[in-house]
C-alpha cells in the first residue's frame, strides 16, 4: 500500500498530464464531420508514431556488444519511422484531394 502511494506521489506530474490529455483528446476532435473521419484517423496514426523517440532512445543506449538490443532497436527505429513518415504522407495525399475543389 505504501508502495502504491509512493508511486502515485512520485509520478503525479505524469498522472496529471494523462488526465488532461484524455479530456483534451476528446474535446479537440469532438465536432469532426464524417467526411474527415478517415484523414483524421490517418493523421492520429502518424502522431502516435512519436513512439519512434522511444526507439531512438533504446537504440542509442544499447551497449556496442549487445547485439540483440542493437538488432531489435534498429528494427524498432525502422518500423517507427515507417509509421511516422508513411502516416503523414498518406494523410497529406488524402487531404490534397479535398483541397482541389471549390
Amino acid at each position: 500500500m505504501e508502495y502504491i502511494l509512493n508511486f502515485i506521489n512520485n509520478s503525479q506530474q505524469i498522472i496529471y498530464i494523462v488526465i488532461l490529455m484524455i479530456f483534451l483528446g476528446i474535446e479537440v476532435i469532438g465536432r469532426v464531420p464524417s467526411v474527415l473521419h478517415t484523414p483524421l484517423m490517418s493523421g492520429a496514426n502518424a502522431i502516435h508514431g512519436v513512439v519512434i523517440i522511444g526507439a531512438i532512445i533504446v537504440m542509442g543506449k544499447a551497449a556496442d556488444t549487445n547485439y540483440i538490443a542493437i538488432g531489435l532497436g534498429f528494427l524498432a527505429v525502422v518500423l517507427g519511422t515507417l509509421n511516422v513518415v508513411g502516416g503523414f504522407v498518406v494523410t497529406d495525399r488524402m487531404l490534397e484531394m479535398f483541397k482541389k475543389k471549390k
Partner: protein, 472 residues
C-alpha cells in the same frame, strides 16, 4: 542548457500535435494541421537524437548513431515510397499497415527494456512500476501489431473471416490469463521465471489475431480506428518508461481521440462498439436474414436503355460504393456527370457516410476526379431529394442501400441508416454479379420492380454509357 533546449523541442512537439489534431477536424485547415504536426514531430525527433541525456547525464552512445540514422533513412525511404505509390483504393490498408508498424515498435521497446532489466535482477532494486509499464506496452503494442496485420490482410482480401462458437469467451479467458501472468511476474520476477515474459508476448500476438479474425470486413474501419488508439496508448507507455513528455502527450492524445473517433464511426453506422466487436458481422446471424430476399427475380437493363432513361431524366442521383473505387472509375464517372449536365440533367452524388471501406472514402475518391464539392450530398440531404429523382444509378454500392437495414430486424445491418433509393422512380444497379456485398447479406432492393440490374465492371459500363449518351 542542452537539456533545456530538448525540453523546448518536446514542448513544441506536444503543442503541434494538439494543434494538428484540432486543425485536422476541420476541412479548411486539415492539410495545414497535418503538416504542422509533421513539423513538430521532426523537431522532437531531431532534438532526441542530438540532445538526449538520461537521468545520469549520459547521452546516446556515439557508436549507435550509424544505426539510428541508418534506420531513419531506411524507414523514411520505404514509408515515403509506399505512401506515395499506394492507390486511393488501398489507402485504408496502408493506414492499418502503418499502425501495425507503430504497435510493433512499441512492443520492441518493451522487449529491449525487459532484456535490460533482467540483467539487473537480483541487484536489490525494485522494478514493480517499470515492469508494469513494460508489460502494458508489450501487450497493447503486440495486440495492435497482430490485429493491424490481420485487418490489413482482410481489406486486401487475403484473409477471410473466420469465427467459431465460443470464440469471444476464449478470447476473454486468454486476455485474463495474460493479465494474471503479467501480474505475477511484476510482483515476483526472478531469473527462473522471466521466460514467462515471452509467453505473454506470444499470447498477446495470438490474442491480436483472434480479436480481429471474427470481425466482418464492413466493420474493419472501426477496428482499425480502435487499434489506432491502442497504439497511441502503447506509445504513451514508452513515455512513462523514459519520463518523456512528448511521447506521453502524443500517445494519450491519440488514445483518447482515437477512442472517440471509433465511437463516432460506430454512430455513423448506428451501432454500438460492443455490437461491432461481438457481432461477428456476416457470421452466425447472417443465416437468419437470407430468407427475406432469396428466391426473387431480378431484371436486367441494357446499356442503351440505361443511357436513354438517364439522358432524358430531370435529376439523376449517383450512389458510389466500393465497386467504383475498385474499378478506379471515378474519372469516367465525372465525365458521365459532366455529359449529363450539358444535356440539362441535374446530377447529384448521394454519399453514404460509410460507403466504401472507410468513412469519407467516397469523398476522397470523387475529389480526386475533380468532382465539384457541392454536388456531393450527405445522406440526409440526399434522402430528401430521392422522391423527386428520376434515376438513381448505383455504382458498386450494396449494403448502404439495402432496405433490410430498415425493415428486417433479423438482418445484421438492421438499424443502420441507409440511402432510401427506392423512393426514386427508377433504380439502376451496376454490379459485377449477383453476389452479395461485403457484409455477405442479400439485398432485397435488387428484386424490386423498379430496380434494373446493369452487370459489369463499373469502369467499362460507364465508358459504354458515356459513348452511348454522346451518340444520342
Amino acid at each position: 542548457m542542452e537539456l533545456n533546449i530538448l525540453t523546448i523541442c518536446y514542448l513544441i512537439g506536444s503543442i503541434t500535435f494538439i494543434l494538428g489534431l484540432k486543425m485536422l477536424s476541420n476541412p479548411a485547415t486539415a492539410r495545414k494541421g497535418n503538416l504542422i504536426a509533421a513539423a513538430g514531430m521532426a523537431v522532437a525527433i531531431a532534438g532526441t537524437i542530438f540532445l538526449y541525456k538520461d537521468e545520469h547525464g549520459v547521452g546516446l552512445h556515439k557508436h549507435n548513431y550509424k544505426f539510428i540514422f541508418g534506420g531513419l533513412a531506411i524507414g523514411t525511404l520505404i514509408g515515403f515510397l509506399a505512401a506515395k505509390k499506394v492507390k486511393m483504393t488501398a489507402m485504408p490498408e496502408m493506414v492499418s499497415l502503418f499502425n501495425g508498424m507503430g504497435g510493433a515498435c512499441a512492443g520492441l521497446i518493451s522487449l529491449i527494456e525487459f532484456g535490460r532489466i533482467s540483467n539487473e535482477l537480483g541487484s536489490g532494486k525494485s522494478f514493480h512500476g517499470t515492469l508494469l509499464i513494460i508489460f502494458l506496452g508489450l501487450i497493447i503494442g503486440s495486440v495492435s501489431f497482430a490485429g493491424s496485420m490481420i485487418a490489413w490482410g482482410k481489406l486486401n482480401g487475403k484473409v477471410k473471416d473466420f469465427s467459431f462458437p465460443g470464440q469471444q469467451i476464449l478470447n476473454t479467458i486468454m486476455l485474463f490469463i495474460m493479465v494474471c501472468i503479467a501480474g505475477y511476474l511484476i510482483l515476483n520476477i526472478t531469473h527462473a521465471n522471466s521466460y514467462l515474459f515471452y509467453v505473454i508476448l506470444a499470447g498477446a500476438l495470438f490474442y491480436g489475431i483472434m480479436f480481429v479474425f471474427p470481425i466482418g470486413g464492413a466493420d474493419m474501419p472501426v477496428v482499425i480506428s480502435l487499434l489506432n488508439s491502442f497504439t497511441g496508448v502503447a506509445a504513451a507507455c514508452g513515455g512513462f518508461l523514459y519520463n518523456n513528455k512528448v511521447m506521453l502527450t502524443g500517445g494519450i492524445l491519440v488514445g483518447a481521440a482515437g477512442t472517440l473517433l471509433t465511437i463516432l464511426m460506430c454512430k455513423a453506422m448506428n451501432r454500438s462498439l460492443l455490437n461491432v466487436l461481438i457481432g461477428s458481422f456476416g457470421g452466425n446471424k447472417a443465416g437468419a436474414s437470407q430468407q427475406s430476399a432469396g428466391g426473387g427475380t431480378y431484371k436486367e437493363i441494357s446499356i442503351s436503355d440505361s443511357a436513354m432513361v438517364m439522358a432524358y431524366a430531370n435529376r439523376v442521383a449517383i450512389v458510389p460504393g466500393y465497386g467504383l473505387a475498385v474499378a478506379q472509375a471515378q474519372h469516367i464517372c465525372h465525365e458521365l456527370e459532366k455529359l449529363l449536365d450539358e444535356k440539362g440533367v441535374e446530377v447529384i452524388y448521394a454519399i453514404h457516410p460509410v460507403a466504401g471501406r472507410m468513412p469519407g472514402h467516397m469523398n476522397v475518391l470523387l475529389a480526386e476526379a475533380d468532382v465539384s464539392y457541392d454536388k456531393l450530398l450527405e445522406m440526409e440531404d440526399a434522402n430528401d431529394l430521392f422522391k423527386t429523382t428520376d434515376v438513381v444509378l448505383i455504382l458498386g454500392a450494396n449494403d448502404v442501400v439495402n432496405p433490410a437495414a430498415k425493415n428486417d430486424p433479423a438482418s445484421p445491418i438492421y438499424g443502420m441508416p441507409i440511402l432510401e433509393v427506392e423512393l426514386a422512380k427508377n433504380v439502376i444497379v451496376n454490379k459485377r454479379s449477383m453476389k452479395p456485398g461485403y457484409a455477405g447479406i442479400e439485398n432485397a432492393l435488387f428484386f424490386q420492380p423498379k430496380t434494373s440490374m446493369l452487370f459489369g465492371d463499373a469502369k467499362g459500363v460507364l465508358q459504354q454509357l458515356v459513348s452511348e449518351i454522346k451518340s444520342l
